[in-house]
Symmetry: C2
Subunit: 334 residues, 2 copies
DNA sequence: ATGAAAGCGCTAACAA
DNA sequence: TTGTTAGCGCTTTCAT
């Protein structure tokens, strides 16, 4: 068995309170401090955070529930976030719910039993019903990327409408009129907002929105392949396509590749996320880039503030995206 | 405050042991069972796993320490693994140590304090010194992907030598003689083995290994870009290059792109991992593909077996890779 | 089948 | 500053 504080007390002849005080930054006489440190060394003592957690009712653990770990948008956010949280003594338990509402609910219950101090969630269930019980514990919840209807809590989102508007306007400026969009699932807020940006940009340019140019994808690679094929087949006059997340962008490029369609001569493309992938495409892909690092940092900052009891008003951060110019958009002269 | 077993006891008039027995599959009279269930419902009771962990000396939590979460090889392995572990009631705390030995050591100590029941590690420190103290607890450690020298434990590896040999032999069969390799860090076992496979294949074909064709990269994207540029510059006669992980493959493709070198006319390429990226390349990239899902499954299986006290002998799994044919290798006629 | 009580390793209130 | 002690919520004997 591992050494306990009792062992240290016995070995040093001190009381438990002194040892505890030592670990919690209290005042301990220099002599005793040395004794304690020696004992720790000898016994290879490590604080038992489980026991501490039981007593303090705080596990120093944050639960993270996301749709797909194996998605670069998620993993980039988590990387930065976890770094900060760990440096503040918090562990993160990550639950990948495979874009499945039932699994998402399971994950939150699981984390509730684990008594995590807070939950960070990129929600799949837009009603937020999976979070209701946890919220009753009074512990903080921070939402990433997507809005939900049922639950009021802090969130870090991206200005998706503007992101899409920027992309579509770039295409319009280059003379494109028949622009396809590979959107996301109808119920996901980011997808709605991106589609809305697309529609607004078109309308503002006096171009009627045509249903056949809109494809509601599922944010997966294979979905992107299929979306591209469908759009190409049913729109002979389409000269450009805007793809609204990374996985589908990858899928669309695969589709174009396998159909032998050349970018940008035959079809202009604007993708989403993953700068490095964009650079690896030939010609380099023009993309909308989300500030994943910043999202991770902000989420960490917000939940830490809540855990320390700061911040009273709801925080609803909205971050901006950036267009990264490549060579995948051609100029059309009429 | 959340409800406790005491609250249920009070509400049902039963003793604590009965409630506990109910939760742990013991025999409880049907009448009482119903009463308990009603109370759970009413009080929104959720087991406190922290308290349970303190008592049972098992947290039902596994620590995972990896070099980079934001690497597809890692995230694919973790995805499958976490799925299985969670379905067995285990949480996974993931620590991304940023390919840094000091952070890796910190992570293991952190997990030790958290009293995780076991550690899964894709090691950065090849001496394994970061694992020594944890190993003394008698809890299981499973290594992924890389060998270490100091510590004896279960591992799930890949046959890297064969993987590299397959790739190089394919190039040789197609008439290539001046084959470059973008290898990994000298001290990492996978890199050594892949380089060894490259060297053996060359020697077996009667081709002397030329130092200038070997680049020791760092397994990062930017490292891949630089490696490719270096190899191309110092080997005018190089007709093919073998890249030994995904990030560097992405980097190499970026480099080729930016230098305007065509695959495979000017340079044949064999990459590593990420089938989808390979499909998105034009022409489709030929790659060595590692069985990430299987690795994840095996790791989960092994650590679960250990946790249940099964398995006595050290397990050293070695899985095979697969060549996925694309069109990035040209045939050279002489 | 159920109840009473001890104790897992820690913190914190109180006393000294 | 340091020691004593109660108790966090659970499991687990040991009785009954």
């Amino acid at each position: 068995m591992a050494a306990t504080m009792k062992d240290i007390a016995k070995r040093t002849g001190l009381g438990l309170a002194t040892i505890s005080s030592y670990f919690n930054g209290g005042n301990v006489r220099e002599k005793n401090r040395a004794k304690i440190e020696e004992a720790i060394e000898e016994l290879h003592y490590e604080v038992n955070e489980v026991a501490r957690g039981l007593k303090t009712n705080a596990t120093k653990t944050i639960g993270v529930v996301i749709p797909e770990l194996n998605s670069i948008f998620c993993s980039e956010i988590i990387t930065g976030m976890e770094d900060i949280l760990r440096s503040h003594g918090y562990a993160t338990i990550i639950c990948d719910c495979r874009t499945n509402r039932a699994l998402e609910k399971d994950a939150v219950e699981f984390l509730t039993r684990k008594r995590v101090d807070g939950i960070i969630n990129m929600p799949v269930d837009i009603t937020g019903s999976h979070l209701c019980d946890f919220q009753k514990t009074g512990k903080p919840i921070v939402l990433i990327d997507r809005r939900i209807t049922g639950v009021e809590c802090d969130s870090v989102l991206v200005d998706n409408e503007k992101a899409a508007r920027d992309a579509v306007e770039l295409l319009l400026e280059n003379g494109h009129r028949n622009i396809g969009i590979i959107g996301g699932p109808r119920e996901v807020s980011t997808a709605k907002e991106r589609l809305e940006g697309y529609c607004k940009a078109c309308r503002d340019a006096g171009i009627p929105v045509r249903e056949s140019l809109i494809y509601h994808g599922d944010y997966t690679i294979q979905g992107g392949v299929q979306a591209l094929e469908t759009l190409v087949n049913r729109n002979q006059d389409m000269t450009a396509v805007f793809v609204t997340n990374y996985e589908m962008t990858l899928g669309a490029v695969i589709g174009l590749n396998e159909l032998g369609i050349h970018i940008p001569e035959e079809l202009s493309v604007i993708g989403f996320d993953n700068l490095e992938f964009a650079r690896a495409c030939s010609p380099k892909l023009t993309i909308v880039s989300q500030p994943t690092e910043e999202i991770g940092r902000e989420v960490a900052r917000i939940i830490l503030a809540r855990l320390e009891g700061k911040e009273t008003e709801k925080i609803n951060q909205k971050l901006q995206t950036e267009m990264i110019m490549g060579k995948s958009v051609s100029k059309i002269c009429r």
